[in-house]
């Protein structure tokens, strides 16, 4: 097993939100370059993301934050109606909490 050489510092929810918004705007084929993205923005109805876009997002988040941020596991634990109601803010909270949990462990 390899260990990560650099640890990502814990970050607050607002910073996570800004980073996720930037990642979404850069997402290939999703057409979000000029999208307004805030805490209440819905992945499903507002951004009209296809689930394959979320796979791309999962890969980018893993590249950025490391294995601790696992979007596949996060979403796999949600019910279908929760996935449909998923906001960018809720994902930001998850990212911040995942990194904080790693810091403390």
């Amino acid at each position: 097993m390899t260990t990560e050489t650099t640890a990502t510092l814990a970050l607050d929810e607002d910073t996570a939100l800004a980073q996720i918004a930037a990642t979404l705007r850069a997402l290939p084929d999703a057409g979000l370059e000029d999208a307004e993205i805030g805490r209440e923005t819905l992945f499903h109805d507002d951004l009209e993301l296809e689930s394959i876009d979320l796979v791309s997002l999962a890969g980018l988040l893993r590249e950025h934050y490391g294995e601790r941020v696992n979007l596949a596991l996060f979403i796999a634990d949600l019910e279908l109606d929760e996935i449909i109601a998923l906001t960018v803010g809720r994902l930001a909270d998850y990212v911040a909490a995942s990194l904080r949990a790693t810091e403390e462990s």
Binding site: D29, H44, D45, E48, L49, E50, S51, I52, L54, V55, S56, A58, G59, N70, A72, L73, I75, A76, L80, I83
Partner: protein
Amino acid sequence: MAKTPTGDITTHVQRLPAGAAGGTAGEGEPPVVVLVHGLLTDSLASYYFTLGPALSAAGMDTVMYDLRGHGRTDRPPTGYRLEHFVEDLALLLDALDEHRPVHLVGNSFGGTIAAGFAAWHPERTATLTMIESEPPVAAWAGHIADGLAHARRDLVHDEAIEWIKERYGAHTARLSRNAARILQTTTLAEDVPAGRLIDDDLSALRCPLLAVFGGDSGLSAQVPELEAKVERCRTVVLPDQGHSVLVEQPGRTRDLVLDWVREHHADRPGVRAGAVG
């Protein structure tokens, strides 16, 4: 994003090795599970957020990929017969240097591809799981030809997409627009029903078969025939469930697949039953 050359196209593949998503890797050589998605509106994402992480956590090497024309895999204008899809899978396993017999799981048309692979590459197939799916026999070719002709006729109209948007929301409308683009820019609708078939007696399917259906889906009418024709066959019908078994009952589907793969992997050396969780 992982892109792998497979013959004349590049295939988007996502692998979750055993234990990568948490859980334990188990002992001995892990089973390999390959997940094959369905037609037009589908992609590997249907597994990435459902079965994939659970299989990996349960100690299984998990492979998900986008079919040609779908998701982030290339979309050539022609070449959509069943044998093209089956050959893509064989080339993908070669490219991944994966030579163990694999446990195939296919949803809808993905199950038809998986059955074609099991029939034409029996030495590479450990078991076959078909979710809401038909094997590639002549009757299937008729059903899929009708369905594709219908989709191509209806989805070209903007009003149809608008109707879908009002009734099912923007997301489904986007999926439908994408499906229409596949149908308009490729020969998929003509090719899929015109491909290679297997004999009606299903004698080509020699590996163990798990077939899962929704009780409200017409496809569940195949149960008696499958049980009569396939020697090692298990069928499961989920009551009050339509065609979207994988998306609407991911937990139940996951448990069925986990039990199935464990059961058929258990007789291999170095694997302790119940050691994974």
